[in-house]
Amino acid sequence: MARYLIRRILLAVVTMFAVSVLTFLLFFAVPTSPAYVMCGKQCDAHAIAQTEQRLGLDKPIVTQYGEFMKGIAVGRTYGTGDLAVKCDAPCLGFSFRTNEPVTDIIKRTLPVTVSVVVGALVIQLVIGVGLGMISALRRGTAFDKAAVGVSLVGASMQIYFFGPILLLIFVYSLHWLPNPAYTSPFDDPFKWFTQMILPWVTLGFLNSAIYARLSRAQMLETLSEDFVRTARAKGLPKRKVYARHALRAAITPIVTIAGLDLGGALGGAVITETVFGVNGLGRTSVNAVNDLNLPVVMGTVLLAAFFIICMNIIVDVLYSVIDPRVRLS
């Protein structure tokens, strides 16, 4: 187990390194100088050269990469002399637009995105897995058929269509809910809930369609296995067989998928946040992309990759805990 973990973490570090090099090359090797992007059309050659020097863009690309990584590890200082700006570790640079440290931007917007993603995850697990399990147990009934139909349509539905529909109904027409925004749950839990419920439902309901299909198929497969029949044959009541034996076997792959989804959730959050105008990390990165605000984009990509890689490891380890047949090697 320990050996396996060490190997996985080493591999993850190598992968993370590769991701960072590729991202860095993509963003900082582009012909348009970031300094030009940063200061816009009114800058002359001198001002651009000055900015380049301050950002260290005049140095070779390898040195630049080294300094960037050093910044993440121990912090760095931009510029020299009076103009020096200190950037504490983990330093991802400064926004080209507002000069705010990227780390601060992430700190400010990440809770919003986590709020959206975790709320949606709860909904999709409860509704999706619940629906899938029940329709598997009642295979062929009207409930099953309705659930299959809903999940088929839901799986083809898109956030950018479902979101506006919900907005139109619950905010603009019925006025039941306020316009979605983010309020810290520690300040005003009720406001947080009412403002977040639409993003949660949108993201969660659409994902739950996929989970329902998956868990239904998984449960059906498990129910046809020998150990379920054996458990029934030895006289265990149905309820116990389903709850103790079948559920546990059927839920393992779903935990894996939920974990991987959580790692990649930032992608879905981008669209959800844009639809509802919630200022999370996703929307911030879209705005940054449209502004060519490279440090912010770079920080987001690295953070998203970090989440994915971490979740991969966690899921693999978790898998062996839930399912003792899986031996990590």
Binding site: L11, T15, M16, A18, V19, L22, T23, L26, F27, V30, P31, T32, Y36, V37, K41, V148, L152, V153, A155, S156, M157, Q158, I159, Y160, F161, P164, I165, L167, L168, Y172, R213, R216, A217, L220, E221, G264, L266, G267, G268, V270, I271, T274, V275, S285, V286, V289, N290, L292, L294, V297, M298, T300, V301, A304, A305, F307, I308, I309, N312
Partner: protein, 348 residues
């Protein structure tokens, strides 16, 4: 019907009392054999069996018809535009009120503009939808074909070569999977556009389309590659491959004439599920203003434009959203039916 198309053509697998005896390689018409009882037994290839199952499936029929209609609409878009009397880019500003909203009900539906007009710009919505579908379908199909082609090549090489090559390719696959695909798409497209065009302004529509396809292909080949690799791994030690090798067949022959025909079924399924996911991916990019650029009509961008008029002219968003939904739903349903037809043992 125990023969699954995913398996090799094993003569021994044919059921003793079965009606259909798969005895010919894929694609060849079977010959009629008269059984002892006098009832004719028709030999059918796995491909023919799948086709028969697909034809019996009502969902496949309906979704297939929807798809065919949409294809025809998209292909015949210029012709339709001529017959209908409006195109996707003309601005009918005389039919808008002073604040830029279409006159009349439901987004300005009228005899000459069946689905109304776009707020502010006054372009015909029906033609925008039809041309937008064209954009979606071209991007999705080309991306899916390239993705699957790369996946097949890499998967076959990794699976058949094994050893170091396999390990390296596997690591590359892991690496690509670790990239936050959507975020990276989002970041790469404007940056590459900027790198190529700089501040020269006007980005050509073809370049942008090519770039989107390229980014999709770069990040999506991993799944078909993994699938093909797994299939090749399980097939390469089988007797028919050994027999081919013993008969002196070259590697190219074994890879493409012996192995590939046996893994067409899962590849087809992956392809049919890739297309709708690229349609939604492309629409999502355009929704975020990072996809196809104006004036190329695009479904995702229509929704994005529509959200600013959601309170005043919701019809515009609903029509474009519903079109994507129908398109994707039809593809998903048809893909499911194809999978069921090719592999009847799989359950949904």
């Amino acid at each position: 019907m125990t023969q699954t198309p995913a398996g090799p053509h094993d003569y021994a697998e044919a059921p003793a009392g079965g009606l259909a005896v798969g005895e010919a390689p894929l694609g060849e018409p079977g010959e009629e054999v008269v059984a002892a009882g006098g009832k004719a037994i028709v030999g059918r290839s796995p491909g023919q069996l799948a086709w028969i199952r697909l034809k019996r499936d009502r969902v496949a029929l309906v979704s297939g018809i929807v798809l065919v209609v949409m294809f025809i609409l998209a292909i015949a878009a210029p012709l339709i535009s001529k017959l209908y009397g409006a195109n996707a880019t003309d601005q009918h500003s005389d039919l808008l009120d002073t604040s830029g909203y279409p006159l009349g009900y439901l987004g300005g539906i009228s005899g000459s503009h069946w689905l109304g007009l776009e707020p502010q710009l006054g372009r015909d919505v029906l033609m925008q939808l039809i041309y937008g579908m064209r954009t979606s379908l071209v991007i999705a199909f080309v991306s899916a074909i390239i993705t699957v082609a790369i996946g097949i090549i890499i998967g076959i090489i990794a699976g058949y070569a094994g050893g170091v090559v396999d390990s390296i390719l596997n690591w590359v696959i892991d690496l690509v999977l670790a990239f936050p695909f959507f975020i990276f798409c989002l970041a790469a497209i404007p940056v590459v556009t900027d790198a190529v065009y700089g501040s020269r302004g006007d980005v050509s529509a073809l370049f942008r389309v090519g770039l989107i396809i390229g980014v999709f292909a770069c990040f999506s080949w991993t799944y078909p590659a993994r699938l093909v690799r797994g299939q090749v791994l399980s097939l390469r030690e089988r007797e028919f491959v050994e027999a081919a090798r013993a008969a002196g067949a070259g590697m190219g022959h074994i890879l493409f004439r012996q192995l590939l025909p046996n893994i067409w079924a899962p590849i087809l399924v992956v392809f049919s599920l890739n297309v709708p996911s690229f349609i939604t991916g492309e629409a999502a990019l355009s929704f975020l203003n990072i996809g196809v650029v104006e004036p190329t009509p695009d479904l995702g961008r229509m929704i994005n434009n529509g959200t600013s008029f959601l309170q005043t002219d919701p019809f515009y968003t609903m029509v474009s959203g519903a079109t994507i939904l129908i398109l994707v739903l039809a593809f998903n349903l048809f893909g499911d039916s194809v999978r069921d037809a090719l592999d009847p043992k799989s359950s949904r």
